[in-house]
Symmetry: C2
Subunit: 392 residues, 2 copies
Amino acid sequence: MKVPLGFSMSGVHAGIKQDKTREDISLIKSESTCTAAGVYTQNKVVAAPVILDRQRTPAADIRGIVINSGNANACTGEQGEQDAEEMARLAAAEFGANPEQVLVLSTGIIGEPMPMPTIAAGIKTVASQLGTDEAQVVAAARGLMTTDTSHKIAVREIPLTTGEGRVMGFAKGAAMIGPNMATMLGVILTDVALSPDEAQQLLCDAVNDSFNCISVEGHMSTNDTVLLLSSNQHQPTDSERATLHEAIHDACIELARAIPNDGEGATHLIQVDVSGCRTRNEAHQIARTIADSALVKTAVTGADPNWGRIVSAAGYAKVDFDPSEVCLKLNGTMLYEAGNPVAFDAESVSASIRENRNTHIDFRLQQGDAAVTFWTCDLTTEYVHLNADYHT
Amino acid sequence: MKVPLGFSMSGVHAGIKQDKTREDISLIKSESTCTAAGVYTQNKVVAAPVILDRQRTPAADIRGIVINSGNANACTGEQGEQDAEEMARLAAAEFGANPEQVLVLSTGIIGEPMPMPTIAAGIKTVASQLGTDEAQVVAAARGLMTTDTSHKIAVREIPLTTGEGRVMGFAKGAAMIGPNMATMLGVILTDVALSPDEAQQLLCDAVNDSFNCISVEGHMSTNDTVLLLSSNQHQPTDSERATLHEAIHDACIELARAIPNDGEGATHLIQVDVSGCRTRNEAHQIARTIADSALVKTAVTGADPNWGRIVSAAGYAKVDFDPSEVCLKLNGTMLYEAGNPVAFDAESVSASIRENRNTHIDFRLQQGDAAVTFWTCDLTTEYVHLNADYHT
């Protein structure tokens, strides 16, 4: 596969997860020092690897990332922080690097001590299997997964005067199950040069339009992290730099959308477009409130074009607006215009929801030009089963 | 029944609802002018009766309330406002009062025109049946109901030097179904004298500790309203006035708790106590975030003592705290203390959830003395069925 130059990777089953067919340790190695940036959960309760990575990014001398799934190393106190450092140290030893040059990602059960002997053995095994073949890339992507039903990889190519620039991203979903305080994790790799500051700014911007615009059930994890690494193999021109930014932005959106699409029990991916707002923040606040409404989600589950639930959700988003300026379309059909319900063919709109995986909510105000696109999934009995029928 | 002196009431099936066994028009009449106060939804999209009542309260000359269920008169534009005024006019004509002396409450389907001939006939019928017998009180309480499984009445008696003061309250639930943007409605009646200003302040305080501390799924309706009426039959002493305040406060809490307890598909009433905060607002913010977490709700559904979901929900409540100050008890058992998981008997805590209707979450910080008590219900597959398996 077209792995960005300078990176190699793989994933193995070390034994953190019980199911032997599921990878639980991944390693991404950079041949030489690389640029790294990170964006992290805003939760007040953060996992040990988040504490460690926050201190280590942005940076110019990172050599790789060690990832485990099956244990989040969250709410594990002082020991957890030592374990995260030990994971970095073990990976660094394999890379011939300093411990401070390795970043750590964990996801899985919270409040349980890390099974360090298992993890140490896994790091040693995976380090002997690094490469750029498709099987190795997929194994690395699978090592991030918890309750995701499929791995998530996005790839972009950028024509450069110096050759072909590459972007490759991985993500895992925000689906949560049992005691697994699951988490959104993302890793973006590129071989096009980025300074630490540029990487940090680019990642913040891209995350703002992608991973910060999704939710499954509105719960924010202790571990959410997106990392961007560049091996700096290609020096882009200014116009190529713009193309790179766009490619990373695009890859983040592709990965972000894949998360609610794979939400637990989801039968629909719901795109919520909010426009005509004074500020992007206000658009985001309205979109998120609509997306997080259990009543909106269950209406989509039931293929019910229930504009009342959508309009009233927007009404409690803590954004000031006059109801008479609201226009709402569902799958392209106007349901509510300038504050008044519109006569529409409910059966055909219902059919358009029922027969498509994607549902599109288009909510407009008339206050300005700010807009946002947000993605979520519907709420099904399967979600409740997955999250209720589990006992610690 | 011990209806506060000066009030009479009843409820009838007028035909707004299809089911003929369900009352859909109620009338509460005050023999003479009475004090009235109101607290209303903060939604930007408000129903016509909310617009009308907001203008008419607080007041000293109210003669009664006309209530319908089955149609919320929300998102109905200019016609809706005229219909709300017409309802007040029709009730006032029966009372021999001015139209401005009547308040209006509506709940039910939104975006549909009000069936005014049906409502007019219903008001005429119910006006001929007013009284203070238990059957009349229950019929009045049932006239507020939408998807509630039972009517909700709270009664308090206050010994006064001038006789027995009475408080009687009604409420309907925040359960939502189909296109019915259902609503929290509350009515509190007393015969102990209150000035309009005192009534308004008292109602705001009582609602703050009761109806503002509950949620079913976090969706705020276009119609939420609580009204307080006093017929001013007894002049209380200062100490009796304090007792009255306490009684109204208590009655509001009893009614408020009854709402999530009767939440759609609920199998548990969850009480969330948050204490040790700097301000009541911060405690409320944490409590509400825990209560609205689908992961916390489904953990209770599944009798899973999942402290990770609770602690991490608190962590994204946008309140600043240090995780090392968090203590969490579930049904009296400490699960998480000073930022560390505690060893506990998971099976016995699980059994205590499974075997009791009430679940108690006790979350403490160490920043101050502010505290709040919040109530919600769990999230079950039945909730999803009720809200998804309906087609407009």
